[in-house]
């Protein structure tokens, strides 16, 4: 197991290196790095100082090494617009996004998996057919459109829930969290619902397919013969057997949730990193774009790593196979 972890860690390191090279080539080599690092209305002195500071007169490979060095120190440059370090800016917005993503993934899991298991357990019942029809909609309808309809229905017409901004937050470790106050929860409800629909649909489909397959297996036949109730079988055997593909998808989906949060955050003016990247693209705040990209890549690599390790924990075959 330890060997496997080390192997995966080294792999992740290489992926990060490749990503940083890609971003470097994309922004520094193809584009003009002076435009990226220096605001267009900076004075001549500042321009020259920055060019010297970042070593833009050096050959490209040296620049890349310097870029890597700055990355390792967490120096991602400063935002043109807000004039604060990018890392600090992104990190200050990250909790809001994480909270939103986590809420929607949890809703997706706790609603989606039971519904999917039911739909797989009773595939012919009208309830299951309704569940599946809704999941098709969840798959194909674009997120931003669902968001609009949610706002229209619950915020404009019914006036039940607020849409836009974050509401009251509670400070813990210097970070504001919404889910601890009633007001914050009300603000969280619509964006989280909006963001979870895709995951919900996907988890329903996956757990339904898994359940249908496993219900026909010998495991279930013998469990039935042993006199276990259907509910116990579903909970103890089926849930456990379908859990491996679910964890993989769940983990990968957590990453894409962070990405799709871009859309949801824009619609609901949720002050997270997604809104930050859109704002920085429209205001041409390039250091923020670069910093965001690097951080998201890092997040993705980390998530993939965690998923792989969880996979190994859940599947004993993988664990033993790798130990040799």
């Amino acid at each position: 197991m330890l060997g496997y972890i080390i192997q995966r860690l080294i792999q992740s390191g290489f992926v990060m290196l490749a990503m940083s090279a890609l971003v470097f080539v994309g922004v520094y080599a193809i584009g003009n790095p002076i435009d990226v690092l220096i605001s267009p209305d900076a004075t001549q002195d500042i321009r020259e100082a920055t060019i010297r500071h970042y070593g833009l007169d050096q050959p490209l490979w040296q620049q890349y090494l310097a870029f890597l060095g700055r990355l390792l120190q967490g120096d991602l440059g400063r935002s043109f617009v807000l004039n604060i370090p990018v890392l600090q800016l992104v990190l200050s917005r990250l909790p809001a996004t994480l909270e939103l993503a986590l809420a929607s993934v949890l809703i997706g899991a706790f609603v989606g998996i039971p519904l999917g298991i039911y739909a797989g357990y009773r595939p012919e019942s009208p309830v299951s057919k309704t569940i599946m029809a809704v999941s098709v909609l969840g798959f194909s309808v674009p997120t931003f459109w669902v968001g609009l309809i949610l706002i229209l229905t619950f915020a404009v017409n019914l006036d039940w829930l607020p849409a836009g901004d974050r509401g009251e937050t509670v400070e813990i470790f210097g970070v504001g969290w919404s889910f601890l106050t009633w007001d914050g929860l009300r603000f969280l409800a619509l964006p989280a619902l909006n963001l979870c629909l895709f995951k919900l649909a996907m988890l329903i489909r996956l757990s339904r397919a898994g359940t249908r397959e496993i219900m026909l297996s010998d495991t279930v036949k013998f469990a039935r013969a042993a006199g276990l109730s259907d509910f116990t079988i579903l909970r103890r055997h089926v849930l456990r057997l379908i859990s491996i593909p679910l964890v993989t998808v769940f983990g990968l989906e957590f990453g894409s949730t962070l990405a799709f949060a871009v859309v949801t955050e824009t619609i609901f003016s949720w002050p997270g990193v997604g809104k930050l990247i859109i704002d920085s693209i429209t205001s041409l705040d390039r250091p923020v774009m670069v910093g965001y990209l690097i951080l998201v890549a890092f997040l993705f690599v980390t998530i993939n790593l965690v998923v792989d390790l969880t996979y190994a924990l859940l599947d004993p075959r993988l664990r033993r196979g790798r130990r040799v």
């Binding site: 992926v15 994309g26 922004v27 584009g31 098709v136 909609l137 798959f139 194909s140 309808v141 674009p142 997120t143 931003f144 459109w145 609009l148 309809i149 706002i151 229209l152 404009v156 990968l252 990453g255 894409s256 990405a259 799709f260 871009v262 859309v263 824009t266 619609i267 990247i277 859109i278 693209i281 429209t282 774009m289 990209l293 998201v296 993705f300 993939n304």
Partner: protein, 286 residues
């Protein structure tokens, strides 16, 4: 082919969906003929007609069945023209991604070795990275316009085709008919093009259908975020975005009707794709 069609018609939902797709495509193609107004011709627009509800008779003397938007565009015309752009983008991006992805996938399966490793690593890496983020970044770097948008959509989507083509090609390569073809003096190129490729097509067609719907949806999302085409030629996403700010004040039709058009198109294409998948899948055949 005839039998395929007969089987297809057995599913009335899928048949209806296909009819809807054909209807929408025809309406979008014929948009200049059936719309009362050219929504891109600024001379035609009258701000006095702006934000009028459905059924309003504007200064042009005709009825705005679906109302007008903030620039005084007739929404029915704007939707049909928007559908044109969405379909153009979706089909263009889908076709290019199909070509590039299939070529890469089949190349990887046939040549093997380092190239196979390299291509499939890249594809897997990209599949784990959300398409929308990639498209967002590319549009931000390349700027706005049709070509950057198509490049962004293709980059975000070719990996699905590559993976499917690779899977299909590796499975087909182990079958006897390829073995037999190899025994003949045919050049490798014609084995791949004449025998391997046609047999890999069914799953690729399914992916292609769904990916066109995804491209349309992605384009609409990017346009909604203000990163799509220039505002003088609004696609469906931008029409929806423009209407969004009036939604709170109760002028919902500006966003809702383009949205409905978009959803109907995407859902219909997806249903057609689902049916094709079921029909191409030999395991579900009895």
């Amino acid at each position: 082919m005839a039998q395929f069609w007969r089987e297809y018609r057995e599913n009335w939902v899928a048949t209806l969906a296909l009819a809807v797709v054909i209807l929408i495509v025809t309406a979008a193609l014929a948009a200049p003929l059936i719309t009362p107004q050219d929504p891109y011709d600024l001379a035609n627009l009258n701000l006095r007609d702006a934000r009028r509800p459905p059924g309003f008779i504007g200064s042009g003397g005709y009825v705005h069945w679906l109302g007008t938007d903030a620039q005084g565009r007739d929404l029915f015309s704007a939707i049909l023209y928007g559908l044109r752009i969405s379909l153009q983008m979706g089909i263009a991006a889908g076709a290019v991604a199909f070509g590039i992805g299939t070529a890469l996938g089949i190349m990887a399966a046939n040549i093997g070795g380092k190239l196979e490793q390299g291509i499939m690593r890249l594809v897997d890496l990209q599949l784990s990275f959300p398409a929308i983020l990639l498209a967002l970044v590319l549009v931000a770097v390349l700027g706005q316009g049709r070509v950057p948008l198509i490049i962004a959509l293709v980059t975000a989507q070719y990996a699905y085709f590559a993976r499917t083509a690779y899977g299909a090609a590796t499975a087909e390569r182990q079958k006897d008919y390829i073995e037999a073809a190899r025994a003949t003096p045919l050049p490798g190129r014609s084995i791949v093009l004449r025998h391997l490729l046609p047999n890999c097509l069914p799953p690729l067609i399914v992916v292609g259908t769904v990916q066109i719907a995804n491209a349309i949806s992605l384009e609409a999302t990017l346009s909604f975020l203000g990163l799509g085409l220039p505002p003088t030629e609004p696609s469906l996403g931008m029409l929806i975005a423009n209407g969004f700010q009036y939604m709170m004040s109760g002028r919902t039709w500006i966003s809702v009707y383009p949205g409905i058009a978009l959803i109907i198109l995407i859902v219909a294409i997806n249903i057609v794709g689902d049916q094709l998948r079921d029909q191409f899948n030999p395991r579900l055949r009895r």
